[in-house]
Structures are given as structure tokens and as C-alpha cells.
């Protein structure tokens, strides 16, 4: 027996060491205060505050998370840039992947937290949608995980079933050729096919990936904005606008009114807009009509459409090990199925975990459009926009280029200029 003790010690000591090793060894989050800058306003702000109160009341470490509405995404970005420079960042902040890339060294790599044997969630990772969970891991940042998804949405096509039926169309278009044909058939008597939002580069991304293209080079190190898919996408929309089958909207969200008033048969937007389109249909001039959502048309029929994945993540700026761990524990708590389901009930964003599905059954049965979107999510080939630092500026350049082409400029010259601009921005913004 005496001989067994040292052997057991020798066997167990490395295991003990393993539990304590790593960057989180010895860190105690007890009593930490976490400031969380987010974009949720009005009702969502209230709901988030209620969830924060729940966390603050129930977490065993007596961590306090203080949520602060800090404006929209752009305003939070500006605030973060200033706060990082001043050395006063919050402990938790909402950020898109390209913004994470800009903050870069000011953020904590969450990989050690995700994989930590004590505080991590490595066993639960398979329950997360792979497209969601990998979105914040960037090759440009050497594989660091600079954020974690609290929720997501996808780009879809909203379509007016009644208008299609009146035009003799039985199903939504699956390909761009069908889409063009349907737009032509529904146009007339003051109505037209597609309410085109030329102000948001995400739509262009959705079109490009639907044709098998990308905004980036195959190795993911640079932009590829003068690709044949980009050219085809822009020229396709230009031809629809020129023919009167698509019309540019004047300002963001105007397509909701056009759709609700049955002026257009199609529009493209995020699934997070579902309640707004439903409200627009309810308020429309012609009364309620049947409508639904479908995948953005593809270059050819497919059972796995390429779809643009939307949604900002939450990132943990570098502060102290105690606060960083406390911020991570809140993220972990928020990603649990119960909290995910609660947030979906408030926001109609998708939960990031499959285990939340039984908890949102009431939405899936009560809201057929959300149910369609949920099923679409499961089979889609999810694609993310470039997570490059400076991508916000490139987005503006893409929108400007898109408008130039729609207004008649030479597509090759415009895209060549766009590609040069984007590469210049990438070079200047890269860490």
C-alpha cells in the first residue's frame, strides 16, 4: 500500500497540474464587475437589462454585468477606438468580425476560454451551429477567436405569394434566371418585381456567393472584387433596373413599405426584419396578403443554397484576468439554451445552439415565416463577409460602385477601381 501512494501521486499530479495549467489557472472571477457596451435600444434594451439582472442574481461568483446602450454599431466602433487609445475599454463589447480585426491586439483571444477544462465549453461545441461558431476565428489574426456569437440571422428573399399567383407563378424563383423572368411577369399596373437596396453592400455579397463567388481570394488574404461573379451580379441588377423590373429604394427600410403596399413582389433582407415585414403587410394599402421567405436565388437550383450569415458578436477587450474571465462566464451563460431561447423570443434572432430548438417550439409553430427561416438555416451553406480590418470602408466603396454601375458606368472600369481601393484599404488597415 505504501508503495502505491507515490505511484498514485505520480499518476494524479499531472492531471492535477493540467486542471490548473493554462492562462486561466488561479484566476478567480468572484466579485468582478463587467461593463457591456451594446446596441440594443428600446424594448430590446429592456429585455437585455432583465437578462443581465437574472445573471447578476443567479451567478455563483457574484459577478455583476452592467449593460450600457452605446449607440449603433458605428458609434460603438468609434467609441471603442477612442476607449482603446485611452486605455479605458469596457470588459465586453458588441463587434462585427471586421471590427474585431481592427481592435485586434486590444481583444482577448477566446480560444483558451472556450477550451479551458474548468471554464470552457469544448464539450458543448458540437451543439453550436458550425457556421456561427467559426465566424469569429480569422486567418488574418492567426487563428485567434476574437468574438463569440450571441445570436445570428441570414439574408433571405421576401416574396409576395399573391402577386406571384396572379401572374401565374406557382413557386418562388430558385435561380436568377427564374427571378428575372418572374420580375418581368409581375411588373405592370404600378407594380414591379424587386425593391432594390443599393445602399447595403451585404446584398451584393449575397448575390456574389449565390453565383459561387466570394469577396476574397481563395487563400483568404485579399479582396477579389472584380470577379466574374461580381460583374455578373451587378450587370444582372442593372438590366432589371433599366427594364423597370427592379427599382432602387430611396433610403434604408423603404422596401418594407413597398412590400407591404404590394408595389414590389420581391425584396431581400435579413431574417431579423421578419417582424417589420409582417407589420408592413398588416398595415398595407391592400390589406393582408399571403407572403413568405425563400433562399436568395442561386445561379442554378440547389438543395444547399449559399446564404449570407449576419450578426455581430461579443468581444472581450483586454483588462484584467479576473474581469476577462467574468466577461467570458457571462458569454458562456448567455449561450446556454435557456438564455438563447429567451433572447430569440425577444429579438427573433436565431439561437446559436441546436439545443435551444425545443425551447422555441412555440415560435416555430406560431410563426410560419420564422419556421421557414429556421429550416433554411439548417440546410444552407452559410458564408460570412470578409472579417478584414477596414472592411467598413470597403463596404462603402462597394455600395458606391454598385450605384455607379446601376446608373450606367462601365462595370469593368468601376470594378477595377473598386478592387484597387479595397486592396489599398486592406493594406492600410491590416494589423
Amino acid at each position: 500500500m505504501k508503495k502505491l501512494v507515490p505511484i498514485l501521486c505520480a499518476l494524479l499530479f499531472p492531471a492535477f497540474l493540467g486542471a490548473q495549467a493554462g492562462p486561466l489557472a488561479g484566476v478567480d472571477p468572484t466579485g468582478a464587475t463587467v461593463t457591456f457596451w451594446y446596441q440594443h435600444s428600446a424594448d430590446r434594451d429592456k429585455a437585455m437589462q432583465a437578462m443581465l439582472a437574472d445573471f447578476n442574481r443567479t451567478n455563483p461568483w457574484k459577478i455583476t454585468v452592467r449593460g450600457e446602450y452605446s449607440g449603433g454599431y458605428d458609434q460603438i466602433y468609434n467609441k471603442m477606438v477612442a476607449a482603446i487609445a485611452a486605455g479605458k475599454p469596457p470588459e465586453l463589447v458588441v463587434a462585427y468580425q471586421n471590427q474585431e480585426a481592427t481592435y485586434d491586439d486590444a481583444l482577448v483571444d477566446l480560444n483558451p476560454y472556450v477550451n479551458d477544462p474548468k471554464w470552457g465549453i469544448s464539450k458543448e461545441l458540437p451543439d453550436f451551429f458550425a457556421g456561427f461558431i467559426n465566424q469569429d476565428v480569422s486567418a488574418q489574426q492567426g487563428g485567434k477567436r476574437l468574438g463569440f456569437p450571441p445570436n445570428r440571422s441570414i439574408e433571405v428573399m421576401y416574396y409576395n405569394q399573391a402577386m406571384l399567383k396572379r401572374a401565374g407563378i406557382s413557386a418562388p424563383p430558385r435561380t436568377w434566371d427564374e427571378f428575372a423572368a418572374d420580375c418581368r411577369r409581375v411588373t405592370g399596373n404600378g407594380s414591379y418585381g424587386y425593391a432594390l437596396d443599393s445602399l447595403d453592400a451585404s446584398h451584393v455579397f449575397a448575390f456574389v456567393i449565390s453565383r459561387g463567388g466570394s469577396f476574397t481570394t481563395p487563400d483568404g488574404t485579399g479582396y477579389a472584387l472584380s470577379s466574374p461573379q461580381m460583374r455578373d451580379s451587378m450587370l444582372f441588377m442593372k438590366s432589371l433596373v433599366a427594364g423597370g423590373f427592379a427599382r432602387k429604394i430611396a433610403k434604408k427600410y423603404d422596401d418594407q413599405g413597398e412590400f407591404g403596399n404590394e408595389q414590389c413582389a420581391f425584396t431581400m433582407s435579413s431574417t431579423s426584419g421578419l417582424p417589420f415585414y409582417a407589420a408592413a403587410v398588416k398595415a398595407g394599402k391592400n390589406g393582408v396578403f399571403p407572403w413568405d421567405i425563400a433562399p436568395v436565388p442561386q445561379v442554378r437550383p440547389t438543395s444547399q443554397p449559399a446564404i449570407d450569415l449576419y450578426g455581430a458578436s461579443v468581444s472581450v477587450p483586454k483588462t484584467t484576468p479576473q474581469k476577462q474571465l467574468a466577461a467570458w462566464l457571462f458569454i458562456r451563460w448567455f449561450s446556454e439554451p435557456r438564455q438563447q431561447a429567451a433572447w430569440t423570443h425577444v429579438s427573433l434572432y436565431f439561437p446559436v445552439r441546436k439545443a435551444a430548438e425545443p425551447l422555441i417550439k412555440d415560435i416555430l409553430t406560431g410563426d410560419p415565416h420564422f419556421a421557414t427561416a429556421w429550416e433554411l438555416l439548417k440546410k444552407a451553406d452559410l458564408k460570412s463577409e470578409p472579417p478584414f480590418a477596414g472592411y467598413d470602408l470597403v463596404r462603402d466603396a462597394i455600395s458606391a460602385a454598385y450605384n455607379k454601375v446601376l446608373d450606367g458606368s462601365d462595370v469593368d472600369a468601376v470594378l477595377s477601381d473598386l478592387q484597387a481601393q479595397a486592396q489599398k484599404i486592406l493594406k492600410e488597415s491590416s494589423p
Binding site: G72, V81, A82, A83, G273
Partner: protein
Amino acid sequence: MGTENRPRPRMTPGRAALYAVLAVGGFLCVLPFLYMVSTSLKSSAETITRTSPVPFSPDFWPGVFRWSNFEEAWTRASFSLYFRNSIITAAVTVAGVIVSSSLAAYAFAKIRFPGSRPVFALLLATLIIPDSVYLVPNFIIVTRLGWYDTLAALTVPFMASAFYIFLLRQFFAQIPNELVESARIDGAGHARSLVSIVLPLSGAPLFTVAFLAFVGSWNSLQWPLVATRTSRWRPITVGLTTFISDAGPQNQLIMAGAVIAILPVVLLYFLAQKQFTEAIARSGIKG
């Protein structure tokens, strides 16, 4: 008094054409305001169904005027708090601007000191720096002074402005030096000359500077969001942003909030209109 005896100008075809052009221009300027007011009185549904941009169309106006939108905007976005904050912030900023700008303008206009011209030129050169460039340094200074989320953070950084100094300096320079020198012969110092001679003769430009500083403070959004973390000192512009969500706006409440937000500015402009135009004319600034 003078206007009563002034003969009415004869209406010639040229004058009629001029009036017509001015009327069209005036109408185009007023149109966005009319649209804002009409939208602020619509129901949520009407912001989708009644969207004509032409005021002569019935669809430009709401079917039923919903005055309750103003009440809803006021209560849902905590406008009473934001409104109070905006008033206090603007008032403190205006006071600081008037004091600092008049002192600096007097020095540049009436005191000869070595390097005054290069220093003034340097001051004017700061006008070409975009406001966004100041964001980070201002934030660093404010946080190091411990002013984060305080009234001082929202007011002190904006109490000195090259443009206001320039505006006042141009006006002060037109006041005859003899007046200031006479006061100095009578024993008045520069401070007394400024307060007793120069400022009383400068009502119009001071009013203009006050008005512009007020509007600048009232309309600011980015800086208050950066420099605060709670609603304690956040202005009314922050309240307006709460009606915009990730996926759609509440147009009728945004417009009702906007009407509430611009009322003080419009009121102030009508009160200061005469002084404003006079000061612009006399400062030599061209639009």
C-alpha cells in the same frame, strides 16, 4: 417706423420672376420640415401607406392626426431627462464659448503682441481639421481628468472654437481703436475695455456665436455617446436613436422626437434671426 413711410416697390416682371423663384426655393426648403411634421402625426401603418412626398396630395397627411405620438416619443425615450440634459449642456457650453471666444478675439483684435498674426493664422489653420480627428485625444484627456460621464466632458472640450474666435475678432476689429484707447486713457484695463466698450457694441455677433454654439451642442450625438455611459447627461439626440433598431425604424416616433428636438433651435433662430443675419453681413463672411 421707417418701414411705414417706405414706398412699396413696383411689381415689374423681373421682380415677379424673382419672387416666384424665391417662393419655389422657400417651398423646397420647408418641404422636409412639413414631411417631418406630417409623418410625426401618422400611425405606424400610415408611414407605410400614406407616403406621398407632395403636400397637395391627401397621402402626404395623416388620415387622423395622432398627437399621442408626441406623448409616446416623450415617455418611451425618456425625453424629459434627455431634454433637460440638452438644455443644461447647451447653456453651459454657450456660456463657456462666449467667455473664451470674446477674450481671445479681443486679444487678437485690440492688443498688439509679438507673434499675434502667426498665432492667429495657426488658430485659423485648426479649422481645416475634421472634428472626428479630435475624438480620440479629447476622450483621452477627458478620461484622464476623471470627467467620463460628467457634464464637464460634454461641455469643456467645446468651450473654445477657432471659428467663433475668428467671427468675433472680425467684428471687434471694426470697432474704432479710438474708443478702446480713450477708455484706456481713462484708466480702464483691457478687461474693463472689453466688458464696458467692446461687448456692448457687439450684440449681434455675440448672439450669433451663442446661437451657433447652442445648435452645435444641441445636435451632437457621437461625442455624447463616447463620453458618457449612462443616461445621466446624455442629450436628446441619443433619445432619438433609440427608435431605430437593427432591422427597421419606427418612423412616426422618430419624426415626433425630431419635432420635439428641433423646437428649441427653431425658436431660438426666430428670436435671433435679425442679429444672426446682421452679424454674418458685418463679419464679411460669405456663404
